[in-house]
Amino acid sequence: MRDVRPRQQERFEKTVPTDAELVAQTIRGSTTSFEHLVERYQARLLRFLITRCTSRADAEDAMQDAFINAYRYLESYDPRWQFSTWLYRIAIRNAAENAKRQATVAADAAEDAPDVLEECIQDAERENLWLTAKRLLSQDAYTAMWLRYAEDMPVKEVARALGRPQSWTRVALLRARRRLAMALGDDDAAGKESKAYG
């Protein structure tokens, strides 16, 4: 009996266009292809922006801005990068600019508002580690952790998305892990990692 599964899988892979193909089609003028990219990344990007923004509305606006800017500058996109890395880089920059703009306007209001990240956590039997991380880590270190462990990006891509050297990213990840491990009371992990820094 012939195994038809590999052929089915091959056919399926052929019908699902890659990011690079969708980008090329968009550059040739197909807005539908860009809509496919939006559908592919909107949930991931919103989840990421929710962890950075102070309200859900800000996160949605930042996501919309990121997609519009990605479309506007799509011809400048370097295909040697992963499309997701480039998109996250734009989103990080947009979110940082929005936060800077709003910092002076709504500093008092933000203190009373409930944490948008907390509202999006489901099935919480204990405190979500990302809430702990948000309290303990700097924003860049937190973003590096998110991209590395939640988005599963390699360190090289994390560094590119943050616009930082790889060495900085590695050290930031190491220190962030050490802080989290100490907060969780994981003395073994904290002790082993702290050896490098005395």
Partner: protein
């Protein structure tokens, strides 16, 4: 994958914000109103290139001419007295207090020792960092 990494991945999956159904349509309609920009390119301009080259050549010529204008002067004759004779008295007094005849090895030995210690510290720190990086990534 260690325990911390596993928990981070699990907890990230528990964050599930609902994407509003109209979001994709909202972005699509915004995108239709946006004009894609071509990548920024610097266009080559012949007149600008020519003007810059001529200015550079003229500046180099002026500099060369002004440097060679004065001609070569003969070096001033050295004074007849020796350096030792020309040395003021207060320097001679100072010279007597300093161990100027000390051997080079006496002066450099502590520095060499310090350098050796620093190198060994550096080597140890490097080994620790490499060990930790291997452990984490």
């Amino acid at each position: 994958m260690d325990d911390l990494e596993r928990r981070l991945r699990e907890d990230a999956k528990a964050i599930r914000p609902e994407v509003p159904p109209e979001m994709a349509a909202r972005i699509a309609s915004s995108v239709r109103g946006v004009r894609a920009l071509p990548p920024a390119r610097r266009e080559f301009s012949w007149p600008l290139w020519l003007a810059a080259s001529l200015t550079g050549a003229a500046a180099a010529t002026v500099a060369i001419v002004s440097l060679n204008r004065g001609g070569v002067e003969d070096p001033a004759p050295l004074p007849a007295e020796t350096v030792a004779e020309a040395m003021p008295d207060y320097i001679r007094d100072f010279e007597r207090q300093l161990p100027l005849r000390a051997k080079t090895a006496d002066l450099t030995a502590p520095l060499e020792e310090e350098l050796k210690n620093l190198r060994s510290d550096l080597e140890r720190a490097k080994e620790n960092v490499e060990e930790d990086l291997d452990f984490t990534f």
